[in-house]
């Protein structure tokens, strides 16, 4: 097994970009990642590309160069970007390739994701007004608040942190800070979650150049190593989005499984992680994911967040780039955005939002439909 290093990162600004296709944004991200690595498109032996709604990534070879590389499209729900990364990681780790690129981009229609449930005896589900991701998040955090005493004010604090961090991030979509009152008084979308507690489907692109670790210094003095990369699907009994029924018996969700596997693979524990990007489809998700990923006990988030421990200058910074809340969620790119941010932070290049004291390790986590989770651990 070979170690894997990230030597180049590129991003197209997240947000809404009229007249710019998702593919355009993917191509920009690739060109920026290559420039960052000091590599050429023709150097790449493989690409794994992810997009949900913006076309087949492999067609970008007609714009970047017809070099004959192995280009595989990845389509894997909300873990699409994360799955492009794990595929790239394994391609190098196994010794098959020395250099390649993981990329993702997307461009979604405005408003909540439209989900059509056809076939499989499920037309009634959408027709009856239940095929909405927002409802799942409302129901999951509502039960969690009931069980563990998380308050709505804490949910508001997660949002205000996200928008404050987003304001420091030139690549973010939403760069205007909001007050807790504004968050709490915005439209109630899915009780107890208000409009400013939810992220929106958006647009953007991210690309990461990966090489076998022994090649890293040929490209950069600041390589960042992928210590683990895991994707897990759900097990029987877990509580997932788009479930017309749930089993009465309970099992942990894919986040818990992916997290445990990632820590085992990296050979370190949660207390050795210096900062994390955690899936924050809405502010309650960030709260629950802190515990599901092993960074605290269930319920402990209430005091951690009230005490500012997850702020950039806090004990355990979470979503330093503003997360999904400030960046939106272009599904193909979202998980890769988290890795991009962690590479910046570990390089010490995160500018105004740099986590202090020279962080050495960083963690990413995506979660989404249909009950899938991806985790990475990075180190210097």
């Amino acid at each position: 097994m070979h170690d894997v290093a990230i030597v180049g990162i590129g991003m197209h600004e997240f947000g809404r970009h009229d007249g710019v296709t998702g593919m355009d944004q993917g191509v920009v991200a690739v060109r920026r990642a290559l420039a960052d690595a000091g590599a050429q498109w023709e150097d790449l032996e493989f690409a794994f590309g992810g997009s949900k709604d913006a076309g087949s990534p492999d067609t970008m070879v007609s714009r970047l160069g017809l070099t004959g590389l192995q280009f595989i499209n990845v389509h894997n729900g909300c873990a699409t970007g994360g799955s492009a990364l794990i595929s790239s990681y394994n391609a190098i780790r196994s010794g098959t390739f020395e250099i390649g690129i993981a990329l993702g981009f997307d461009k979604h229609e405005r408003g909540a994701f439209r989900v059509r449930t056809r076939g499989d005896n499920l037309e009634w589900y959408g027709e009856s007004g239940m095929a909405l991701t927002t409802q799942f998040f409302g129901m999951k955090i509502n039960r969690y608040m009931h069980d563990y005493g998380i308050t709505q004010n804490t949910l508001a604090k997660v949002s205000t942190k996200a928008f404050r961090n987003g304001a420091l991030n030139p690549m973010a979509w939403r760069r205007k800070p909001f007050s807790e009152e504004e968050v709490l008084e915005s439209t109630m979308l899915s009780y107890p979650l208000t409009q400013y507690m939810f992220c929106s489907p958006g647009e953007g692109g991210v690309a990461l150049v990966l090489v076998r670790a022994d090649k890293a210094k040929e490209f950069t003095d600041n390589p960042v190593y992928l210590k683990s990369c895991v994707v897990k699907s759900r097990r029987f009994g877990s509580f997932e989005v788009f479930s017309p029924h749930l089993a009465n018996e309970f099992s942990e969700g894919p986040t818990v499984d992916a997290s445990k596997a990632a820590f085992e693979m990296a050979g370190i524990g949660p207390d050795e992680i210096d900062l994390a990007q955690l899936q924050d489809t809405e502010s309650g998700a960030e709260v629950m994911h802190m515990a599901e990923n092993g960074f605290c006990e269930h319920g402990e988030q209430e005091s951690m967040i009230q005490n500012g421990e997850t702020e950039i200058d806090g004990r355990f910074p979470v979503n330093t780039d503003g997360g999904c809340l400030a960046n939106g969620e272009p599904i193909g790119a979202s998980g890769l955005r988290q890795v991009y941010e962690n590479v910046l932070q570990l390089r010490g290049d995160a500018g105004e939002r740099q986590v202090p004291n020279d962080p050495q390790t960083a963690y990413t986590h995506v979660y989404g439909a249909p009950g899938i989770s991806g985790v990475t651990i990075l180190s210097k």
């Binding site: 408003g111 909540a112 439209r114 989900v115 059509r116 449930t117 499989d120 005896n121 499920l122 037309e123 009634w124 589900y125 959408g126 027709e127 009856s128 007004g129 239940m130 095929a131 909405l132 927002t134 409802q135 409302g138 129901m139 999951k140 509502n142 039960r143 009931h146 439209t187 109630m188 979308l189 899915s190 009780y191 107890p192 979650l193 029987f236 479930s243 017309p244 029924h245 749930l246 089993a247 009465n248």
Partner: protein
């Protein structure tokens, strides 16, 4: 106006006594909803149709505060006339938790652990002038 089920393979007994059609795996006892042949618990493929219980306990809930996109939603989507509606999981003892509309849309009148029973709510009027209904749970008088 005659009531018709939103999908008669899932919600039966309309008009009259609504029942939900789920399935039970003869190999492991697992319940599913709606009916499917394959069992996500034991990988069996012989799940048999059953009528699910009409009473259960509210496990969690939310209030849908904005009109869903149409399609797929067939209920009211005009923001002027849209009324928020409750959605929750109701745990049917010994069977399964079913996701359903709730008749109640006031957060102060819903709580985890409430006893609930099956009913229907109207969604739309179809081309023949029938009232299309879907299933919902309402708090019982015991609450």
């Amino acid at each position: 106006m005659t009531q018709v089920s939103v999908q008669d393979t899932v919600l039966v007994g309309i008009p009259g006594e609504p029942r939900l059609i789920g399935g039970k795996c003869p190999d492991c006892g697992n319940h599913v909803f709606p009916m499917q042949k394959d069992c996500p618990k034991c990988t069996g493929d012989q799940i048999e149709k059953v009528e699910l219980s009409t009473k259960g306990i509210l496990w969690t809930w939310t209030i849908q505060g904005f009109p869903p996109k149409s399609p797929p939603y067939i209920g009211e989507t005009d923001p002027e006339n849209f009324e928020a509606y409750g959605v929750g999981y109701v745990e049917l003892p010994g069977e399964v938790k079913v996701e359903a509309r709730l008749t109640e849309n006031d957060p102060t009148r819903l709580r985890v652990g409430m006893e609930m029973e099956l009913t229907v709510v109207p969604l739309a009027i179809d081309e023949e002038g029938n009232e299309v209904v879907t299933f919902a749970f309402q708090p019982t008088e015991n609450n």
